[in-house]
């Protein structure tokens, strides 16, 4: 997995070009640029930046690793994300774009359910974004550590430092411009990798038969409730998480929001198929003892010639950085708007300065979390099981125009958070992560239902 001189040259050219590009596009005129890019982002950029955000370590290195061990199972489960993104694009994102005063998910929740709901959403959003940033930092750190021979902590710090610098200076407008460019690099490198890897396998038929057998084997060892949890996790886990919701808020029109989400959802099908193919090809080329999170890079090292491998390493840096930039930006905006902004009035300049400082803080927190994070997919599943049960249900309910009450919104957020946290901590269902999401969703629905009944009885009394 060692790099040639040409590989190093390509990596240096990539980072130098990115730094130059960064200097060009890092112009910020206020908090509106930082949080929602002045709400002037067109369809193509919404789609590209959504793709660049979801194509993080989980949807590349993590998915290839799971396809390496369980063939088609996880690529098929990931299609839940594709379906969700298309459905959100058709029905929810355009409605979210109508909240012209909102800068964050918490702002929208505040309008629907009151200030307490906004603060709670801010706390959950910030924690979630730090968690996602930690998973990404660990994945990127592992790759850097493997390729450059660094210790893990140094790789994690290096990756996060670059992410913080970009987000600190840029904000959403520049993040979107940078992400679109990084999307181009990732897609080019991974497409070249798939084309090169296919030439290493003699027969597609034999590979397909073996993959089918592995899939059934993996499926048969899974409990039904765990499988249901996984289906729901990939369908709901990333639905309207703060970085995605911020793109809906940043869209120029409802139509650009709709089309941006639908295009991003459709492209994810192509992406998951390609990444799944890399993992399955890897199961033929690599020893079974290869750690799953290293399968992607190991296939690249076998398939790509000198120079293209350097481009792939640059693409992995892009994969980590673009997703990390988005979650750091969204987390900082959530704390500024939903937590501190609800307690005191902040000027535009004050919000901008505060957001930048919070970006730095969240980045540092994510470094500490990264050193304790589990595997990429397991880390993502923990984040999913906290988001979907707590904020997603009341958010979608309210945005779709259904009747909202302060008490039911709060009950859903608290009930979902408590239910999934208890399950994650092992007090319910033995700490199985996908099951935690199912339990959290059930708790949220139950708590909201109870709150609705109690409120109605009080009113009628």
């Amino acid at each position: 997995m060692s790099l040639s001189t040409l590989d190093y040259a390509i990596i240096i050219v990539y980072f130098a070009g990115l730094a130059l590009y960064g200097v060009l596009v890092r112009r910020i005129r206020g908090f509106g640029d930082y949080s929602v890019a002045r709400r002037r982002v067109p369809t193509s950029m919404i789609a590209a930046s959504l793709c660049a955000t979801y194509i993080g370590p989980g949807y590349s290195l993590g998915l290839a690793g799971r396809a390496f061990t369980s063939a088609y199972l996880f690529p098929l489960l990931f299609l839940g994300f594709s379906l969700q993104t298309v459905l959100v694009g058709l029905f929810v994102a355009p409605r979210l774009t109508r909240y012209q005063e909102a800068h964050s998910v918490g702002d929208v929740m505040g309008k629907l359910y009151g200030r307490e709901a906004q603060v709670l959403t801010g706390v959950i959003s910030a924690g979630l974004c730090a968690g996602f940033a930690a998973v990404m930092a660990r994945a990127g750190g592992q790759v850097l550590a493997g390729v450059l021979g660094l210790p893990l902590w140094a790789g994690v710090c290096l990756v996060t430092l670059v992410g913080i610098t970009y987000t600190y200076t840029g904000g959403l407008k520049s993040v979107i411009a940078t992400e679109a460019l990084q999307f181009v690099v990732k897609v080019t490198a991974v497409s070249a990798m798939v084309l090169a890897a296919r030439s290493l396998v003699a027969s597609g038929n034999q590979l397909g038969d073996a993959a089918l057998e592995t899939t059934w084997k993996a499926l048969s060892t899974m409990k039904p409730l765990t499988l249901l949890g996984l289906v729901l996790s990939f369908f709901l886990g990333e639905t309207l998480i703060p970085p995605y919701a911020n793109r809906a808020l940043a869209a120029r029109t409802e139509s650009s929001s709709r089309r941006g989400f639908v295009l991003a959802g459709l492209f994810s099908i192509v992406w998951f198929a390609m990444i799944g193919a890399i993992g399955i090809i890897g199961s033929r080329l690599l020893p079974a003892s290869t750690p799953e999170d290293r399968a992607f890079v190991a296939v690249a090292a076998k398939a790509l010639p000198s120079g293209l491998f350097g481009l792939l390493v640059a693409a992995i840096a892009a994969i980590v950085m673009s997703s990390q930039e988005s979650v750091l930006n969204a987390g900082a905006v959530a704390v500024t708007r939903d937590m501190i902004g609800t307690l005191r009035n902040l000027s535009d300049h004050g919000s901008l300065v505060l957001s930048r400082l919070l970006t730095l803080t969240l980045g540092l927190v994510s470094v500490f979390m990264a050193l304790r994070a589990p595997s990429i997919i397991d880390g993502l599943l923990i984040c999913y099981s906290l988001w979907a049960p707590s904020v997603l249900l009341p958010l979608v309910w309210g945005v779709m125009g259904l009747p909202t009450r302060r008490s039911t919104g709060l009950a859903a957020i608290v009930g979902g958070t408590v239910g999934s946290s208890l399950a994650l901590l092992g007090h319910v269902a033995g700490g199985d992560t996908p099951t935690a999401l199912v339990i959290g969703l059930a708790s949220a629905a139950l708590a909201a239902g109870l709150a609705a009944v109690v409120t109605r009885q009080r009113r009628s009394a």
């Binding site: 596009v25 193509s44 296919r198 397909g208 198929a273 390609m274 090809i281």
Partner: protein, 48 residues
């Protein structure tokens, strides 16, 4: 075999075409919105 060909040949070529399209759109976005040069992109929602 057909599925393998689609996933390992057609999809990568399609993705490369998408990458080229996005690159063009990015240059346009950076010129018009980020750097503030050139004509406004208002009303050009039809592309991509």
């Amino acid at each position: 075999m057909i599925l393998f060909t689609i996933v390992s040949l057609v999809f990568p070529l399609m993705s490369l075409a998408v990458a080229v399209l996005v690159l063009g759109q990015t240059v346009s976005y950076v010129r018009n919105e980020v750097l503030g040069n050139g004509p406004s992109t208002e009303g050009k929602e039809g592309s991509l």
